[in-house]
Structure formats: structure tokens, C-alpha cells
């Protein structure tokens, strides 16, 4: 287990390094942050001062080495825009994104699994067909459009829920959470639904496919022949076996939601990391972009690790040392 963890960490470090290099080169190729950040009033002397002050006068390789040196000491640089440590900016906004992502993922599991199970066990019923048709909508409607429609219907027309923002928050252990107040929770509902529609559909489809396949397997037939109750057959034998693909996909989706819920966060003015990264890309705020992607890589490594460990719990045949 330790060797396995160590190996994973080394892999992660390699990916982070490659990522930082790519971002550096990419941002360099796109354009000059100073051209975007500088006031149009600035004259040539002020422009040169700004370039020096942001360390952009050095050759690219030297900028990169300076960055690496500082990163090894835990300093990922300061945002050009906010003049604050990039890492702190990101961590400040992480709770907002995390609670949204958790809300969406939990909704996906709570709604998706039962519906998928039902559709898998009774594939020919009208309800199942309706569920499957609905899931196609969940897949294919663009998040952007659905988000705006949710706002139009539930906030503007019906006035049931607030349209945007995060609402009241409660500070717990120095971190602000909004799911602890009714006001905060009501602000969360629409964006969480918007994020979870796709995931619900995904879970429904995976579960249904898994169930339909498992129901034909010998062990299910055997369990039935043994005279086990249908409930026990479904919820113990079938359920456990279909969970592995579901856990894998939900895990990856969870990571994706944290990292790239840019569209939903922009539409709902949700002050999370997705909004930060898109704003930073627009003004070529390189320190934030690099730090963000590094945080994301680490997060995916951790999520994949958790997924792998979950496998061993679900399926005793899986051994961590054997893979990797």
C-alpha cells in the first residue's frame, strides 16, 4: 500500500511539472498580460515599469526557473490582478465550489441510482421508457441554456428561488459554508440542479446497463434458485456488482465538476474556482492559471486514489499492489 501511494505521488509530481510548463508556454503564446492589464492611459515608461514589476522582462526560461524555485518553497506566485498569493485566492474559493459539487454529486446518486435500478429491472414498462427518454435530455441539453431557463422559470417567472449569488454563509472552522442556512441553501438549489442534470442521466444509464447485464449472470440465477428474496438478490448481489463502473464515473465526474464548472458558476455568479479560472484566463493572469491547474492535478490524483480504494471495498478481488 505504501509503495503504491508513493508511486502515485511521484506520478502526480511529474504531471504537475509538465502541466506548469505547458501553461507557461501556452500563456506566453497567447499574448502579453501587460497589454491587457495596463491602463490605456499608461505611457511607454509606465508600460516598461509594469513589465518589470510583474517579472515579464526576463526570458521565458528564466521566468520558469524563478517560478519553479519559488514553487518548491510553497510559493506559487502572486496574482497579477489581485496582488494576492495565487494559492490563497484559489483555496478561498474552493469551499464554494466544493459544496456545489458535492450537492450535485449527491443529487446524482440519490436520484440517478434508484431510477436506473428501476429502469434496469423493468426495462419494458412505460415509466422506464420515460426515465430513459428524460436522461437523453439531461445529456444533450447544453448546461448554459438549461441554467438560463432555470433562472427564467424559477427566479424570474415564479420567484421561488434567488437567481444568482451565494446568499448567506455560516463560518465553520474558518471556512464559509452556505448549505447551513436556509437562505444559502436556497441559493444553492438552482446551480446544483444545473450541474447535476448531466450526472443524473449518466448514473441512470450506467446503472440500468449494469443491472440488465447482471440480471442475466449465473450468480443471480443461482441466488434466485437458492430461494433468496428478490430484494436481497437486487440490493445485495446485483447492486454491489454494478457499483464499480458507477463509482469510477462518479469519481471522475466529481473531479470534473470541481475543476470545470465554469459555465454554471458564471451564469449563477457563484463565487467559486470555476469563475476565478475563467476570469484569470481572460486577463492572462498566469500565476493563478498555473496554480489552479496544479491544484486540480493534485485533486484528481487524490480522487482517483479514493476511487481505487473504494474498489477494494466493493470487490475483494481487487488488490492495489497488483496494479499501478
Amino acid at each position: 500500500m505504501t509503495v503504491y501511494l508513493l508511486r502515485r505521488l511521484i506520478q502526480a509530481a511529474g504531471v504537475v511539472l509538465a502541466m506548469s510548463l505547458l501553461v507557461f508556454l501556452g500563456v506566453y503564446a497567447i499574448g502579453d498580460p501587460v497589454e491587457i492589464l495596463i491602463s490605456p492611459d499608461a505611457d511607454q515608461i509606465e508600460r516598461e515599469r509594469a513589465i518589470r514589476s510583474l517579472g515579464l522582462d526576463l526570458p521565458l526560461w528564466e521566468q520558469y526557473l524563478v517560478f519553479l524555485g519559488k514553487a518548491l518553497q510553497g510559493d506559487l506566485g502572486r496574482s497579477f490582478v489581485f496582488n494576492e498569493p495565487a494559492l490563497r485566492l484559489i483555496l478561498d474559493r474552493m469551499p464554494a465550489t466544493l459544496e456545489l459539487a458535492v450537492g450535485a454529486t449527491v443529487a446524482a446518486i440519490i436520484i440517478g441510482l434508484p431510477l436506473g435500478l428501476y429502469a434496469g429491472l423493468r426495462p419494458d414498462s412505460a415509466v422506464s421508457k420515460a426515465i430513459m427518454a428524460g436522461s437523453i435530455l439531461g445529456f444533450s441539453l447544453p448546461t448554459f441554456w438549461v441554467g438560463l431557463m432555470l433562472i427564467m422559470v424559477f427566479a424570474v417567472q415564479l420567484g421561488w428561488l434567488p437567481s444568482t449569488g451565494r446568499g448567506e454563509t455560516v463560518e465553520v472552522l474558518g471556512v464559509r459554508w452556505s448549505f447551513l442556512t436556509w437562505n444559502g441553501l436556497s441559493h444553492m438549489i438552482l446551480p446544483a440542479i444545473n450541474l447535476s442534470l448531466f450526472k443524473i442521466s449518466l448514473v441512470i444509464r450506467l446503472t440500468r446497463a449494469g443491472v440488465r447485464e447482471a440480471m442475466l449472470m449465473d450468480y443471480v440465477k443461482f441466488a434466485r434458485a437458492k430461494g433468496l428474496s428478490p430484494n436481497r438478490v437486487v440490493f445485495v448481489h446485483v447492486f454491489k456488482n454494478i457499483l464499480i463502473p458507477v463509482v469510477t464515473v462518479v469519481g471522475l465526474e466529481f473531479g470534473g465538476t470541481i475543476a470545470f464548472s465554469v459555465v454554471t458558476e458564471s451564469i449563477f455568479a457563484w463565487p467559486g474556482m470555476g469563475k476565478l479560472i475563467i476570469d484569470s484566463i481572460n486577463v492572462l493572469d498566469r500565476p493563478v492559471m498555473v496554480a489552479y491547474l496544479m491544484v486540480i492535478v493534485l485533486m484528481f490524483v487524490v480522487i482517483n486514489l479514493v476511487v481505487d480504494i473504494t474498489y477494494t471495498v466493493l470487490d475483494p478481488r481487487v488488490r492495489l499492489e497488483g496494479k499501478a
Partner: protein
């Protein structure tokens, strides 16, 4: 002011009348949403409109500007030239910072010293303090600035600098401001809390020396997505928004719950041309796609033809949904040094074709017009429209729109032949002239945004003359002549000046500002007569 008193009386009346009906009637709090995020509360960190808007709620300047960008007394009550190279500012007595510290001339001296020394600033305010050679505190309420040369722009420069307190802000870093701790000024609002990129909460400074704001508490939110901002207004989550997208204008005008406020802005949208190359220009070819040996854009007849080909009124009506004013010069009417009688050219394709033929291009040529697609209102649609109008006179135009970060870098390296950009002006003709059309000169700091590298020694001479003329009336005359010259020579092709638009719930009224700043002190409850 009488207007404010009226509004306040009206609000009181409507509150009395509506009192049984709703809690909204006598509201003490205002929730507003802006489209561009405030990135820092340090007023000297980043010269950026959204930051300046927030700063002008918290801090004051020596010289404030009114809604039409005219200079009015701020922390200075009067200013004058005592010697050609010395400006004197008399300061307002009895002003206190939010924490009770007294405002004196020493604080001004401290501010001038701090401005060029803000670490990591991506765009500092040092351009406004650089002309000052020496600061002299004459007495606690009098300060003098000595300059190398006579410098007429001193009051305007001072209208860009927010004043800090030496006792409070000595050693304060940008982060201290962002955390709210150092965000202490003399302005009409004090900061209660600040969440970067999300919202700022303000409360009224009841000890403010100027007009008392109408609202005791203000929630200043940032909603960058246009559709979401409009939806938040319609849903009633916010009561006031800025940067209303032109595509929503028709709908909002017809909505009984919403009122709009508009002001002609100071931002001109124009086309820059390649004046630098005499030989082949990168995106100009003959009709067979072969490079032309000479750059046709160097010929003033060609430039005039290109300007005459454009139907500015059509662009304003159809692309901008009316939210702009066609322009034939740098500044809008009503602003100091605007040139009276210099109208936006009327579209005349026939005259344009004749000019092209005269210049030796009876069959026209091909050109590519570049522009951003995410920077100015409807930018990519404007260049498409211009492209069609140019093609109509025989200049076959390809259009390419790019995201701003990519576009602006290339424009700054003179990679384009023709390109669309915008310019937000100060209310003084020398500002656009010196930055956009003066010869590029690093030493003098001229032509920094002259991306087409236009150069006209006669124009430079006039700008220089204006910049040393301390008499406002004489300077205005010189600046008007200079602008006339630049426009006759088609240094740039002006298209239109944007209209700034805000939208609010019907129960509010707003004084629209030419300078695009969105501030809570400009919002008040609507008078009873106009509220529904």
C-alpha cells in the same frame, strides 16, 4: 442640492403613501450588480474603471468629476496657478477619514509619495504624479506642486488620484485594503466587508462632507454574465445593474417594473489604420491576392474614401440598437475641447469610389479588417458591418475577430492593416490626441496607444503647444484646431461614441455618468411622481 432634497422628499412621501403596502417602500438598503469585477480596494494598485468606481465610493480626490465629467471641488475647494510651474490647491477644512483621522495637506503629500511605490502594480497611477517635481506643504490646508514645465493638466491628473491618510496607510499593502482593514477614506461610504470578485458591502458615512447618499447600506455585487445580471434584476434579487446588454434593451424598455438611465459616454470606437509602412502592408493585396508594392493607406484620399464608405447611422441603429452616437471626432458634444460643427461624415459611397479612383485604385483592392470579439459592445458585429460597407465601394474586405488577449498583442506589434479598437477619454482633447495620434515617442510618453503609428509633425507641434498653454480658453482653441487637422488627415476613422446604460427597478432613479463609473451615491429612490 435642490434635486436631492426633492428626491428625498418624494421618497418620504411615497414611503408614507405606501407604508401599509410593503416593506420595500422605505428601503434603507440597496443591492446593485456590476458587470466587471472590482479586483482590488487599494485605490493606487490598478488603474481600472471598476476599481475606480468602488474607490470613488470609499475615497475622495482633490478634484472630483460630476456626471458630465466636469471638474468640481473635491477635497480641494479651489486650485490655481501661482507661478507658471507651480499649482496651488486649497484644501477642504474639517474633513475626517472614516476612522476619525483629520484630513490635511500632509496626507496629500503622503498620497503623492505612495502612488509610484505600490508593489507589483500591473498599471500604476504614477503617470499622474510624474510631472510633479516637488511637493510643498504650505500650511495644513494649502499644498503646492512644482513642475518642470508649465503643466495645464494638473487638476485633471488630480481628478484621478484618491487621497489616503498618512497615519492610517503608512506601510499599508494592497492586501490590507482588500481585507477591508485599510479601506478607509473620506468618501460617502465605508467598507463593511469585501469578498474578492463576489461582493462588497458598504454602509453610509454619516459624517460625509458632501451630499448625503440616499441609502444607509449598499450591497455591491459582481455578476459578470450579461444574461444573469439582467435576470437578477428582473427577479428582483438586485435592484440596479450596469452594462445592460444591447440585446436586452428592447425588452427592458417595455417592462413596467424597470427603468433605464442613459448617458453618452466618453468611449469612442474607431478604426486604426497602418500608417507605418510605405511599402506593402500585411493585410492589403490587389484584387488577385498579390501584395501591393505601396501601402494605399498612406494616401489620405484612400483613408477618406474608407471613412466615407461607412454608414455610421446604420451601425448605430442596427448593430448598436441605438445605444451609441455616430461620431466624426474623438470627444462627444458638451465636453471641453469638443470641436463644434465637426459632424460624423454621412455615408457617400459614390464620393468614396471617386476618391479611390483619384488615388489610383479604380478597381479597389483587398484588405483584412481585424478586431476583438469580447471587448467592446458588439465589436465583432461592427467590423462585419464595416467590412460590407467597404466591399460596397470596391475595397473587398475580409473580417477577422479574435479574443482580446490575442488581438491586442498583435495590434500593439503593428501586425494589422486595419483594426477596430476603443478609447475611453478624459474630458480634454489632448488626452486622445497625445495617446492615439501623436507620433510614437518613448521619451515624451506620446503615442503609447498609437497602434497604427500615425505621425504628423504639424499635429505634434500643436499638441505640444496645447500642453504648455495654461489658459483653458486658449488651450481649447488649439486643441480644437489640432483635432480638426487630425480628422482632415484621417489619423483614425471614428465610428461612434458608446452610450452608457444602467437599468433599475422602477422605484429607483439614477444620475447617469459619462465616465461609466457605477456608484451607489448616484442612485436614489425615485420621486413619487415618476414611480408606479
Amino acid at each position: 442640492m435642490a434635486g436631492t432634497a426633492h428626491a428625498a422628499a418624494g421618497a418620504l412621501l411615497s414611503a408614507l403613501v405606501l407604508a401599509p403596502g410593503g416593506a420595500r417602500a422605505q428601503q434603507a438598503a440597496l443591492t446593485m450588480a456590476v458587470g466587471a469585477p472590482v479586483t482590488s480596494l487599494d485605490p493606487h494598485y490598478h488603474q481600472l474603471s471598476p476599481n475606480n468606481a468602488a474607490a470613488s465610493m470609499i475615497f475622495d480626490r482633490l478634484v472630483n468629476t460630476d456626471h458630465q465629467s466636469r471638474m468640481v471641488p473635491g477635497l480641494a475647494t479651489e486650485w490655481r496657478v501661482v507661478e507658471p510651474t507651480v499649482w496651488e490647491f486649497k484644501l477642504r477644512p474639517g474633513v475626517r477619514f472614516h476612522n476619525g483621522q483629520e484630513f490635511t495637506a500632509d496626507d496629500v503629500a503622503f498620497t503623492i509619495a505612495r502612488v509610484p511605490n505600490v508593489p507589483n502594480s500591473p498599471s500604476s497611477f504614477a503617470i499622474y504624479t510624474r510631472p510633479i517635481r516637488e511637493v510643498q506643504v504650505v500650511d495644513p490646508l494649502t499644498i503646492r506642486f512644482r513642475t518642470e514645465m508649465p503643466y495645464p493638466l494638473m487638476p485633471m491628473d488630480m481628478s484621478n488620484l484618491f487621497i489616503l491618510d498618512r497615519q492610517t496607510h503608512e506601510g499599508a499593502a494592497t492586501e490590507d485594503f482588500n481585507g477591508g482593514r485599510a479601506a478607509v477614506g473620506t468618501g460617502p461610504f465605508r467598507v463593511v466587508s469585501h469578498r474578492n470578485g463576489d461582493r462588497i458591502e458598504f454602509e453610509r458615512n454619516d459624517a460625509y462632507w458632501g451630499d448625503r447618499p440616499a441609502f444607509a447600506r449598499v450591497n455591491y455585487r459582481m455578476i459578470t454574465n450579461d444574461a444573469a445580471r439582467t435576470a437578477a434584476l428582473l427577479a428582483g434579487d438586485v435592484e440596479f445593474i450596469d452594462q445592460v446588454p444591447t440585446s436586452d434593451l428592447a425588452k427592458l424598455r417595455g417592462d413596467q417594473r424597470v427603468a433605464l438611465s442613459e448617458a453618452t459616454g466618453m468611449r469612442i470606437i474607431f478604426l486604426g489604420l497602418d500608417h507605418m509602412r510605405t511599402d506593402a502592408s500585411p493585410f492589403v493585396t490587389d484584387n488577385n491576392g498579390q501584395p501591393l508594392p505601396r501601402n494605399p493607406l498612406k494616401d489620405v484620399r484612400v483613408r477618406r474614401a474608407l471613412s466615407l464608405a461607412i454608414d455610421r447611422h446604420a451601425i448605430v441603429d442596427r448593430v448598436m440598437e441605438g445605444a451609441a452616437t455616430p461620431s466624426g471626432q474623438y470627444l462627444p458634444a458638451g465636453i471641453y475641447s469638443h470641436v463644434p460643427g465637426l459632424e460624423a461624415p454621412r455615408a457617400d459611397p459614390d464620393a468614396a469610389r471617386r476618391l479611390l479612383a483619384e488615388a489610383g485604385y479604380p478597381q479597389g483592392f483587398r484588405i483584412q479588417l481585424n478586431g476583438p470579439n469580447d471587448r467592446y459592445i458588439n465589436d465583432s458585429r461592427i467590423i462585419q458591418a464595416v467590412g460590407q460597407m467597404w466591399t460596397r465601394i470596391g475595397v473587398r474586405t475580409a473580417v477577422e475577430a479574435q479574443p482580446w488577449p490575442t488581438f491586442i498583442g498583435r495590434a500593439g506589434r503593428q501586425e494589422f492593416s486595419a483594426f477596430l479598437v476603443g478609447w475611453g477619454s478624459n474630458p480634454e482633447g489632448s488626452h486622445p490626441l497625445r495617446n492615439l495620434s501623436a507620433t510614437w515617442d518613448r521619451e515624451r510618453g506620446w503615442g503609447a496607444s498609437n497602434r497604427g503609428r500615425y505621425s504628423n509633425p504639424e499635429l505634434d507641434r500643436m499638441i505640444e503647444q496645447a500642453l504648455s498653454e495654461l489658459d483653458d480658453a486658449k488651450r481649447e482653441k488649439i486643441l480644437q484646431d489640432a483635432q480638426r487637422l487630425a480628422m482632415e488627415d484621417v489619423a483614425i476613422i471614428p465610428l461612434h461614441i458608446q452610450t452608457n446604460i444602467w437599468a433599475m427597478r422602477r422605484n429607483l432613479a439614477h444620475t447617469a455618468r459619462a465616465d461609466e463609473l457605477t456608484r451607489a451615491q448616484d442612485v436614489r429612490p425615485a420621486a413619487a411622481a415618476t414611480s408606479r
